[in-house]
Amino acid sequence: MKLTPLCTALALLVVPATAWCQGSLIGNPVAGEQKDQMCGGCHGIDGWRTAYPEVYGVPKIGGQHPAYIVKALQEYKSGERTHPSMRAIAASLSDQDMADLAAYYGGSGAGVASK
């Protein structure tokens, strides 16, 4: 009984700070950068193109909304989105990994405006 008002008060304090990310997870951009090995080989090369199953320019994700990046990764993990490489990679990511990567890519930082 004592805990409920306390939890509510804490939730009210925490929610505004995390409103930009999915759920209650806080994305850490530094941790996200450290988890970028699987992403940078395609998304970090300007003009890189997919090879399979269809050829097209790999989307730019630097500066994208973190909430959208998390949603895309969740949809790859669930199979709702079907790109084979992205499905395999997203399957290995935890919710925290996704939040961290989204914070890294969605935040400001070094990058090229590209063509």
Binding site: G40, E54, V58, G63, P66, T82, G111, V112, A113, S114
Partner: protein
């Protein structure tokens, strides 16, 4: 000779890209105002966190996303309904239009 050969190759390359797209930016803008702007913004850089920014995105990626929504390969109730009403030419025009907008998106590395 080297210069003219380069010029010829450049002309061929440009021809190849335009022939594949043959996109009409004006028609793309008109369609954006009609269909896309309310959520994605006229320049594609919506501040709404749930909707992706599209300004300066790769045109062939945008076109693929729209084709996949239209075919049902990518499922989203809202985008599926909008994409179903687009012709292949509309899709090329929209993709070219948003790709040509000032990019907020970057390649991060």
């Amino acid at each position: 000779m080297k210069t003219s050969l380069f010029g010829l190759l450049a002309a061929l390359a440009v021809g190849a890209t335009t022939a594949a797209g043959a996109a009409d930016l004006k028609a793309g803008e008109a369609k954006v105002k009609e269909v896309c702007q309310a959520c994605h913004g006229l320049d594609g850089n919506t501040p709404t966190p749930d909707y992706p920014k599209l300004g300066g995105q790769r045109p062939d990626y945008l076109a693929k996303a729209l084709r996949d929504y239209k075919s049902g390969a990518r499922k989203n109730a809202v985008m599926g309904a909008f994409a179903a009403a687009l012709t292949p030419q509309d899709i090329d025009n929209l993709a070219a239009y948003y790709a040509a907008q000032p990019a907020v998106l970057i390649v991060k590395h």
